[in-house]
């Protein structure tokens, strides 16, 4: 709705400092406010009518309404859950299970799509002909095939053709891959493991201090210290050393064939792998193009200036080009993150138990309360998307060009 006040010059009343203003019905400011109130009232009334009408109609047709169903026992099983769940839990819990499964695939998808996308975007601009062309081929193929087909490809063409559990492929007898999923050993900490945790905390603190010291030294003396590699080694090395010194206080839970399936260890179900792979690979190609456009948007003079200062290609990219490119990259990158999250609802096509599959699928069907469930699901996607947009906007503000 346009704001009438913005168009109407609001000054005349103030300029003519006459004791008597125009009558209220001719006063543009009063009229602007009145019309806005009327418009707002109509919008609210319109929304309420739809809501009320839906309720009345459902009641007259004998369809149960309300959110009471969330406390009822669900009574159906779910293939994969991050929190303990069984048939005796409530429909409310199926909502949480589905939500967490959606967040899991969205989070891991965004993480890996960003990593692969940045690598590809840089590779696309590489002066090495082969690398640049390979990146180009990857991008043009994956970007132009619909994500649903890519999910089907991974699920039906790749993972379905794997052998069954009794003939599964294995690596060193510890990692097993078959058409039921990927089984890996999973560590269970034993007594004494706390020392490793302490070592990790010390290493992280030490690394943070090291980075600060290195930055201050560079600011003061101009000399650089490879703080990135040093802190990486610290964070990785110290806990490992402590782990080794304390005699490895971890029990490995190895997967083993028992009856129909493997038991023990951790398991990635094929539905998750297919969805994750497809979303990551599809979105990575868009991110690669965004990164490329961001880098190309930085004037070539910047590269030349960096070379003139004696910076090598790597540091020039890292210190000069990418920080400036980020200003161009971040806004469209946010859209890609939102797209990936929303595309994760394609999970339902291959039976990955995400929010749409579990809650808007089975739960909706068992309870029949379509209006409530669809509204809740839409609210969830809206909330996730707005949160991502909010966080990315914060980051965007941090990297925008500050004019001094």
């Amino acid at each position: 709705m346009a704001d009438p006040a913005a168009r109407t010059p609001a000054r005349p009343a103030a300029l003519h400092a006459a004791p008597k203003g125009p009558p209220p019905w001719n006063n543009p400011r009063v009229r602007a406010v009145v019309f806005q109130i009327v418009a707002l009232g109509l919008v609210v009334w319109f929304g309420w009518t739809i809501f009320n009408n839906t309720l009345t109609n459902m009641e007259s047709r004998g369809i149960t309404t309300g959110f009471g169903f969330l406390d009822n026992t669900a009574g159906f099983g779910i293939l994969f859950s991050l929190i303990p769940y069984d048939e005796s839990n409530t429909y409310g819990r199926t909502f949480v299970v589905g939500l967490l499964n959606t967040l899991l695939v969205a989070f891991l998808g965004i993480l890996f799509a960003t990593l692969i996308g940045f690598l590809l975007g840089v590779a696309r601009l590489s002066s090495n002909w082969l690398i640049a062309k390979m990146a180009l081929v990857y991008i043009e193929i994956t970007r132009n095939i619909p994500p649903l087909l890519q999910i089907f490809f991974w699920y039906y063409a790749v993972l379905r053709t794997l052998p069954g559990p009794r003939q599964s492929l294995d690596l060193l007898g510890a990692v097993h891959l078959n058409n039921r999923g990927l089984y890996i050993p999973w560590p269970h900490p034993e007594t004494g493991f706390w020392a490793v945790g302490v070592a990790l905390a010390v290493a992280v603190t030490g690394a943070a201090l090291l980075l600060r010291w290195a930055r201050r030294r560079q600011d003061q003396t101009g000399r650089r210290f490879p703080a990135g590699w040093a802190s990486f080694g610290l964070v990785l090395g110290l806990p490992l050393a402590v782990f080794w010194l304390t005699g490895g206080p971890v029990a490995w839970d190895l997967p083993a064939l028992d009856g129909f399936n493997f038991k023990g260890g951790a398991r990635l179900i094929p539905e998750f792998i297919a969805l994750w792979a497809a979303l990551t690979i599809y979105t990575a190609s868009f991110i690669a193009e965004i990164v490329r456009s961001g880098i190309e948007a930085v004037s070539h003079g910047q590269t030349e200036a960096a070379q003139a200062l004696g910076l090598k290609r790597g540091p020039a990219l890292r210190l000069i080009i990418i920080p400036q490119a980020l200003r161009v990259i971040i806004p469209p990158l946010t859209s890609q993150y939102l797209n990936l999250t929303k595309n994760s609802s394609l999970a339902t096509a291959i039976g990955y138990p995400d929010l749409v599959g579990v809650f808007m699928g089975t739960t909706l069907n068992q309870t029949g309360q379509a209006v409530e469930i669809v509204a809740m699901t839409m609210a969830v996607y809206l909330t996730i998307s707005l949160s991502i947009a909010f966080l990315m906007n914060l980051y965007n503000r941090a990297v925008t060009l500050r004019e001094r």
């Binding site: 019309f35 009408n53 058409n179 129909f260 599959g357 909706l364």
Partner: protein, 339 residues
Amino acid sequence: MIKTKAALAAGLAAAVLTAPALAAETLDAVKSRGELVCGVSTGLPGFSSPDDAGNWTGIDVDVCRAVAAAVLGDADAVKFVPLTAKERFTALQSGEIDVLSRNTTWTHTRDTSLGLNFAGVNYYDGQGFLVKKDLGVASATELDGASVCIQAGTTTELNLADYFRFKGMDYSPVVFDTSDQTVQGFASGRCDVLTSDQSQLYGLRTKLDNPDSAVVLPEVISKEPLGPVVRQGDDEWFNIVKWTLFAQVNAEELGVTSENVEDMKTSDNPAVKRLVGTDGDMGEKLGLSADWAAMVVAQVGNYGEMFERNVGETTPLNISRGLNALWSDGGIQYAPPIR
């Protein structure tokens, strides 16, 4: 100003458009359309599936055809709408279809909370398990730890959870949208077990490359009375669907078939006369023509014919009458009398 006026007009128009809809008179709607819109499955051999020429066949399809014959006098005046298990109730509630005939189990929750009415039972079923022969499993009690393929949004999902929990066994459910996907999952080895209503298992087994490589286990773990469903609040239409099915069962009981129905119009048996419409005003009471039931039997056949043609022992499904035999033959198909 103009904008405000437009908003006001839009608001009023919306208010008129969204005025509470009254329960539509389904019979009048079907008659004026000249066509019955019927919700069926996306493809389940014997129940509702399209053949090579695109014609729908099956026992659920025949229920739709029978209703069309009773109401419009033409068993072919049906438009079939394929629906997944998840879509079916919403499609009926919203008025997209006139009747749902899609191997749907009659349960308390569905009957009481969805605003729907079950109009009878055209097939008494029970849930079973299909497993590959080479697993060497002879009973459902040996299925601890199995992966099970199921169709989303079915009573099957709930029965399965109940059964495994009650037996203290573990399982992992692999849930798909359509029964075709569950068969694919089973065939490719994603799951050890395919579970569904037993009749469907026989039908789905025919879709495997080698149907003899799988067997249906003897256990039946639930009651699954399947039947047509209509919207609540239109009792006239509810009666028509209900009595069309009853007329078919009564016809079998009275020995009226699609072949002899014309001769039966001269019968002296008062029950037959009421059925074929040569006596009484049974059709009028339903708002239909006098020979409504005769048209149903002539064009679709009686219940027994419908059963044998679609799922009986001469078909690939090879299902015996069992529970679905007439009450007088040891089954439980029983219809109230037409009088």
